[in-house]
Symmetry: C2
Subunit: 410 residues, 2 copies
Amino acid sequence: MPIIVQKFGGTSVGSVTKIKNVARRVMEEVERGNDVVVVVSAMGKTTDELVTMAKEITDNPSKREMDMLLSTGEQVTISLLTMALLEQGQQTISFTGWQAGIQTEAVHGNARILQIDTKRMEAELQAGKVVVVAGFQGIDEEGNITTLGRGGSDTTAVALAAALKAQRCDIYTDVTGVFTTDPRYIKEARKLLSISYDEMLELANLGAGVLHPRAVEFAKNYHIPLEVRSSMEKESGTIIEEDATMEENLIVRGIAFEDKITRVTVFGLPRTLSTLSTIFTTLAKHHINVDIIIQTMTSEETTNLSFSIKSEVLQEALQVLESNKPNLEFERIETEDGLAKVSIVGSGMVSNPGVAAEMFEVMANTGIQVKMVSTSEIKVSTVINEQEMVKAVEALHVAFNLGAHSKALA
Amino acid sequence: MPIIVQKFGGTSVGSVTKIKNVARRVMEEVERGNDVVVVVSAMGKTTDELVTMAKEITDNPSKREMDMLLSTGEQVTISLLTMALLEQGQQTISFTGWQAGIQTEAVHGNARILQIDTKRMEAELQAGKVVVVAGFQGIDEEGNITTLGRGGSDTTAVALAAALKAQRCDIYTDVTGVFTTDPRYIKEARKLLSISYDEMLELANLGAGVLHPRAVEFAKNYHIPLEVRSSMEKESGTIIEEDATMEENLIVRGIAFEDKITRVTVFGLPRTLSTLSTIFTTLAKHHINVDIIIQTMTSEETTNLSFSIKSEVLQEALQVLESNKPNLEFERIETEDGLAKVSIVGSGMVSNPGVAAEMFEVMANTGIQVKMVSTSEIKVSTVINEQEMVKAVEALHVAFNLGAHSKALA
């Protein structure tokens, strides 16, 4: 029988009532004649509560012990969901990460999956059972519990789908699919029927937040079709697969945006070969993620450098730069906050060189000044004033015809 | 170095603050130059909260999944305690039951420990680490998580002490030791310096509640000295070992008592060889624990049978008996509730035949009617009216000289 992997995140299993609902969703897939493996996260606020207790004990908890602590969250969910399935008369069994044979690197907090020993899962599926697996966790070769870090349960689901040669991996979440842009801001936003892995990766990295980029990459590498769909509503979601065959006339597939961006400009850096690497290595060591980077040559000897960061890490970034001033040899720093990033994404751009130009024209016609630009093969990102973010997205959504297919989806 | 096993129960680890306190108690033992293995239970109300969630899902949860669920409780505690020890600069590592090599029967909810593979624990002790182990849990040969049932963490601690050839197993709890009787009722109650395994077994079975009888039996079989002591106060506790060498002049070592007892009398049972076994097998099948049993012959053909049970199971016991009436062939049932059980315990009784008589005399002199009696080699139990329970215990405590040594202990 075809194997379907279903993944339900923390919101979808946030209460006993919701867990019962998840059990019904699982039963629907069983009744379609599929073998089902279910991956679940910790219930709603559980992880936060555990982290709070750890922080009351120490400011710097051992990563091994944090994994030991946090992995209990999913273990609670698998047992409760299994009970709910048994209550519906379904044969089923729960597995922690290590019981499911998920072997990872000997790294705590952010381990990668090395291999999955599927023997026991396959035997239970053969026996007609639904297999319920704790997401986010595995075991290293010494038998220590590890966790996979952010997006870990998505990654578990996709990795299990790959190891079990599943037909599909369904990611159940609190939205009904992947949208052309964020429907909380843009009422014309519409759900996409399908999207390619690369497009999803750009959207995920740009903060669309539905699915972790790591899981998308994993799915892309192993050719696992993903479906993002709602755990509460029955409508079909968005398929993520190799080629988005439908809607292929759309050059731009989606618009991602994010506020609370700050631009940092460093003036008068020496023009040596190592300047760029030194400055960004220094920031990376302090876990400050830099997004768009622009370098301008101002003279033979010096260069100016602008980059965008999340506003919340500005103070830390400034401290790091100032304390490394003797080493970095810059003249001064200027910052501008209250900015936002707006990006258009679509694999059709590769063969349509005018897309970036069209985006800038829309911005100009709407009276919006573009302060920074960055492009990739399937993405154009701009930094603009925060107050103009929604207006820009609305204009782009219309210009690139993203609302047009809404009737076809009804 | 000598190995000491310390066990801290749910009350002792009931909050982050208490866990930090436990870390200090562990450090004291380390500073005495011992290798230390710590066994902990789930934090305070955790188990109740998990059970509540399971009950919201099903009235009849799978035992395997209950073990999966409940075992998370101790896993949270081991990680937090390990963090607290690291915070004090102590090298340490936490182990779940399966990581500690605790192999059990393939039984859920009430598994017995089969063997313990101590390799990894010994390596970590050798490396100078405190080893923190989750109590109450193990793993069966198929890799399923099992739990040991009531008193499970006590049993884990004693079993680890046996497997690691520990010098002593300290049971930290919310009382300062084992008392001659319950100090909440009898202000003259005093703490015993030492007590034998058998005496402790009788007291534990009689509801003294400090230590689970199963753990005491385990300790007796493997000759592990136990010390029951307070996790909050520094005074030494009560040693439980083969021969209570001190205070050996005391014939009676302690008085246990319990209220809410009901006597059930079944009249007119046929006098066949199988009557007793039939009636108590029937009750046992329904998990109704019967305590004292008295049989009286009334005629050539029939017999009357009295037994005591906890009042809370009376209705169920009556239902079981009535529904089996055709089979058991009794005439009628009478019950008397509002009773209590008072027992004296002491290994000195074996060689002092008059102890039971002395107990009855004390009862008679105090104007208390004894309704049922049961004796063993080191125990005499009586059933009396509930209202007279405390008065009886006070009188016995004086008569058997149990308060006399209080000054020697100060």
